[in-house]
Symmetry: C2
């Protein structure tokens, strides 16, 4: 999606360790008009796929997922990072490693908000190793629901998570795919 | 706002300790169409006030704030809860007590995304004691910006935070104001 690629080129900042900071429009400050356009593009890509629920993970996935839910006309569920490992019977839960923060979180969704009737589009701002998406997919499967596919703003393709998921037969659509990046260059796939 | 009040009456669950759970449309599962309508109502209330930035706090404020930014056509900044107390020179920071979680967070905003030119509408899902809003207002003031007002989805008026802020001259608009609630009754102001 050219609109997003242009914005990454003009405002993204590459940091050591494969970190891309896009705090000016996606992660700390948000550009809601851009988020809406991105949601429309995901709607176009998944048109006719019968999506009836959007699933994301707090915190920075919430904004884009909300607009995706708006254009699809369906509810959005955000999985929560739990502070406790004592999970109640009312929750689906999974362990997810965070690439950015270097720790492991227990991620939960209430059983009230995911079920066998759900055809889920998983949405997130970033795709790197894919650990968060594998976790969200596991939550949908615990609920007996169907993962229709994944919609991502920025895929760091050089980290391999996206192609790993595609090789498992999961449909993954990313609006910008970064092939490589360094201090002085950033190249899209 | 009748649409929101009706939804609170039909789906809200009162829990011990003054907790209102609205997880089915505002805090865990989100109804994006309702969020959009709420954003339009805040736009109507603050029309002509020169708002050019929306400020909220992660995580559950992000969804409604994103739609408010969309209808105002301006950027949204979400303050982050910091794990460390070592704050860099690049951040505005403030201490905020959490009523829900019973702890204190260091809340930060990058100096890049708040400044003296900003006319800020602070947006959040809940207003109880007002501690989060006092913190967000302090961040805007550190930046030399102007707080135009506050836009809230649900004010628990019986906890007094809203009227405390109004008494200080701050404009606070809440789309639903709860006068009292118990297991078997919930009354709006």
């Amino acid at each position: 999606m050219k609109l997003l690629e242009d914005r990454i080129l003009s405002e993204g900042k590459v940091r050591p360790g494969g970190i891309l900071k896009v705090d000016s429009f996606l992660n700390h400050q948000l550009d809601p008009q851009l988020l809406y356009e991105m949601a429309c593009e995901l709607k176009r890509l998944y048109e006719g796929a019968g999506v009836n629920k959007i699933l994301t993970i707090e915190a920075s996935g919430i904004a884009i997922a909300s607009f995706v839910g708006y254009v699809f006309g369906c509810p959005v569920v955000f999985a929560k990072k739990s502070k406790t490992k004592n999970i109640s019977d009312e929750l689906y839960s999974v362990q997810v490693e965070s690439f950015t923060h270097g720790n492991t979180n227990t991620v939960v969704v209430s059983k009230e908000y995911l079920g066998a009737q759900d055809r889920v589009l998983i949405v997130d701002d970033f795709l790197a190793t894919g650990a968060a998406l594998v976790g969200l997919k596991a939550l949908v499967e615990q609920a007996g629901g169907t993962v229709v596919g994944v919609g991502i703003a920025i895929e760091k393709a050089f980290q391999g998570g996206g192609n790993l998921l595609r090789a498992q037969g999961l449909r993954v659509e990313s609006l910008a795919r970064i092939a490589s990046m360094s201090d002085d260059s950033l190249r899209f796939c």
